[in-house]
Amino acid sequence: MRTPLRVFDLLITLMAWMAALLLLTLMLATVAKVGLRATTGYGLLGIDQLSGLIMVWMTFLGAPWVLREGGHVVVDLLILNLRGRSAQVFAVVAALLGAIVCLTIAWFGLQAVLTSLRRGILVAAELEIPRAVNIAPIPLGMLFLGLEFLRRAATALSGGTVVTQGEGH
């Protein structure tokens, strides 16, 4: 049980670092575009489209890590005032629902990627890349989010505390 969990955690952290690097890339790509336009008179074609693509990858690579760190926005109006048994029940139910949502979307996201590849759908913009490249991070991120929610459910079930509002704001 230990090793798979450690690998899982490592993967989530790795994905988070990739998200962070994408954030830097996002900045540098646009700066490069403007720089080229200023010096050569031509912007770099397709950077705006690439930026959109990076936004999706960054979000879904980073989301499982943000969940683990308790960074996703939660309305804790009610749950903050709960104690003991009921708090535990709510935490388990919320985590299980989260798992269901994420794993369902992971599954249909995978179908969407495969369908998109089968239909040969392209993004009709500056760079004619397959739409599947845009969609692929969704099932990936959702799978890890779903597993992370399952872990939260297990933690809550065994009486542990689930991090809801992170320290990192």
Binding site: A16, A19, A20, L23, L24, L26, M27, T30, V31, K33, V34, I47, D48, S51, G52, L53, M55, V56, M58, T59, G62, A63, W65, V66, L67, G71, H72, V73, V74, V75, D76, L77, L78, I79, F90, A91, V93, A94, L97, G98, V101, C102, T104, I105, F108, G109, Q111, A112, T115, R131, N134, I135, I138, P139, L145, T164, Q165, G166, G168, H169
Partner: protein, 436 residues
């Protein structure tokens, strides 16, 4: 299915899921899944739901959100913000309630570095609030201006929320960012006026103290070194957008890029700080963007069910004046804003508001600016304003939630006053963008 059955199921489901502690992003996705199943042809529609998640965030229009966050994060972690506060402190000299006024001034300046409220509140609340308490300020006066200043962060560019609102509403990002400048400055002035009047009426709330005098040459030097450069970054962003030299996305990216050099120039950009700034801004960006993934399908489903159309027809047929209708809509946002955070409010209300704005022939930018004031207000309205909790976390031990609520109240009223002013004098919001 009747549209109102659908609508009430939708909102009850959303409320329920949020209340049991499901993060709001996933609460949106959950109700979207149910809506898609019912309205978009069962499981076939799920393919479309996945595509709409991609469409919601894969646009360069939203790029300023992570850029503004990264910029603010680097400035904070490199200690640029602290230095700026010190400079303002030097200039303020002796005036009554000087620390409270300093808080507003520092908040206004910090707001040019950051597009999110929490960072500002944590910083000011962690430094100036204890200082005010030490100097014998009334606790509500030690806390209130911090909360109000956090709200300023969202209103004065850069502002991530302005990008969210413009993107969801289909408004011009450039015009939005320019239009919020005047109301933002006006709000800061209104805060200061309030503090001065209050201290005049109740001198015991802010005991005077001896201020060490700083030579003019030092003030000038520090201003040139520590205040002007970071503010110039934001001025440059705004000017680029205003003159059309670069798009908001380009301006934001360049501004962020320059920030790194600025931080390095101050010699305060260690690798550890850089790492911290990068990770915390990734976290905050993901946190906002993942909520946005529900945006497209949520509003599309509301339209699809017929709810949007029905509500628009109902609202525009109401026998009330245009201003009353606007007030009703803003009251609704205010109430929703008491319970949930801003991005979610935009996602919930804008799909319904947009057709009404169109049908009433309102200037969308005017509406959006009033909405922005309302949204930043949501961070400080009890019971669930995020800034209130941040404040609780950094305040002097023994501070109760009740004291924080009471401290927020005058600043809430000032925000509402600003909204009324903007509703009655749209020119205040529209004049600057009209020059573009």
């Amino acid at each position: 299915m009747e549209w109102w059955v659908f609508l009430s199921t939708f909102f009850l489901g959303l409320t329920g899921l949020m209340l049991i502690g499901l993060p709001v992003a996933f609460a949106f996705l959950a109700v979207n899944m149910i809506g898609v199943y019912l309205l978009w042809g069962g499981f076939n529609g799920f393919n479309q739901l996945v595509l709409s998640i991609d469409s919601s965030i894969s646009t360069f229009i939203l790029v300023p959100i992570p850029m503004f966050i990264l910029m603010g994060s680097v400035m904070f972690h490199a200690g640029i913000a602290e230095r700026m506060i010190r400079v303002i402190d030097q200039w303020l000299g002796f005036i009554s309630g000087r620390l409270a006024v300093l808080t507003v001034g520092a908040g206004a300046v910090l707001s040019t570095l950051t597009g999110v409220a929490m960072g500002s509140v944590a910083m000011l609340g962690g430094t100036l609030t204890p200082e005010m308490e030490r100097r014998g300020y009334a606790r509500t006066l030690a806390i209130g201006p911090v909360l109000g200043s956090g709200a300023l962060a969202i209103l004065i560019p850069p502002s991530t929320l302005a990008i969210v609102l413009a993107s969801v509403g289909g408004f011009s990002v450039a015009k939005m960012l320019i239009a919020i400048i005047l109301p933002g400055i006006l709000l800061a002035i209104m805060y200061v006026i309030y503090i001065l009047i209050r201290v005049k009426l109740r001198p015991q709330d802010a005991p005077a103290y001896e201020v060490p005098s700083v030579p003019l040459s030092v003030k000038l030097r520090d201003t040139a070194l520590y205040l002007v450069p970071p503010v110039m970054v934001v001025v440059m962003i705004v000017v680029c957008i205003f003159t059309g030299l670069a798009t908001p996305t380009e301006s934001a990216a360049i501004g962020t890029f320059i920030t790194f050099f600025l931080a390095a120039a101050y010699g305060d950009l260690s690798l550890a700080k850089l790492k911290h700034a990068l990770l915390s801004s990734t976290k905050l960006s993901v946190m906002i963007l993942i909520i946005m993934t529900g945006s497209a399908s949520f509003s599309q489903l509301l339209s699809f069910s017929g709810a949007t159309g029905a509500i628009t027809t109902w609202a525009t047929a109401l026998d009330v004046s245009s201003i009353t209708l606007m007030l009703m809509m803003m009251a609704l946002v205010l109430i929703v804003g008491m319970f949930i955070e801003q991005t979610s409010i935009v996602l919930i209300t804008m799909p319904i508001f947009l057709p009404i704005i169109g049908a009433m022939g309102w200037d969308p930018i005017w509406f959006a600016v009033v909405m922005m004031v309302n949204l930043e207000l949501a961070t400080i309205t009890p019971p669930a304003g995020l800034s209130l909790f941040v404040m609780k976390g950094v305040a002097v031990p023994g501070t109760t939630m009740g004291q924080i609520y009471r401290a927020a109240l005058p600043f809430i009223l000032i925000n509402i006053l600003l909204m009324l002013i903007l509703i009655l004098w749209p020119a205040l919001a529209l004049w600057l963008p009209s020059l573009m």
